[in-house]
Subunit: 145 residues, 2 copies
């Protein structure tokens, strides 16, 4: 297991705060940040505009490819089954998240399937680690939900 870069998770937290949402995401390779996004479901009238889905779409569009092998996704909250599946389709290698789906469920309705359970049933294995800057991520979850 490689070690999460807390500076990059801080960037995910900052992009979330700036957009007044608990949900921010960053795609990075090593210590280099390639793309950032915050949840924009309301602004875009798009129920799929979760931070993770947007950041995947943004980087794929920039790179003109659908394969993000080698990239790491940092996200303030554990990816929902939609976003986790998108990360698998994009062949992302590593996911670091802050707070988990049970914590998010206390604030808003969730689909109750953990990212690791999606991963287990997949054709592509993602390394997943939660609890990264969890206290800060929980603070913005409290603040903006």
């Amino acid at each position: 297991m490689i070690t999460p870069d807390t500076r990059i998770m801080n960037t995910a937290i900052e992009i979330a705060e700036k957009n007044q949402t608990p949900f921010g995401a960053v795609l990075a390779m090593g210590d280099e940040i390639f793309a950032t996004a915050a949840n924009q479901t309301r602004e875009l009238h798009d129920p799929t505009a979760h931070a993770e889905l947007l950041v995947i779409r943004k980087l794929c569009s920039q790179l003109k490819k659908t394969d993000l092998s080698g990239f790491t996704l940092y996200t303030t909250c554990e990816p929902c089954p939609m976003c986790m599946s998108a990360a698998i389709w994009a062949k992302i290698d590593v996911i670091y998240y802050g707070c988990d789906i049970p914590s998010i469920s206390e604030k808003m309705p969730q689909i109750d399937i953990r990212s690791r359970d999606i991963n287990k049933k997949s054709f592509h294995n993602v390394t997943i680690q939660g609890g990264v800057l969890e206290k800060r991520c929980m603070e913005i979850l409290q603040l903006f939900s």
Copy 2:
């Protein structure tokens, strides 16, 4: 259980064929078609550009809202966990599909979680029925995968 409209599933099949992909989707209310889409992952360099996700985004953009309550999704192939979760976030009421994930798995890698298993863990209950014009949907799956 209401009855699927095979004319609408035929439209989903036609949009798939026209785009030379096994994957076509339509959003309808009653017998009125509101939006159609085919898989465009390669064309758009977007691993999330599955037919179902695109048709949900298209109609939400048209209606300027994230809630598709009252709409029915017709799709040539059973929604993957990403698309099924997107349908739940959009509060779609009914999904009709042609061929199922085990059949698609014989042709290409899949995340092996059925739409009804996502539905069971959700905050919103979708009525799901497979096998609609299944033979025709299998034909285009064979042809374009």
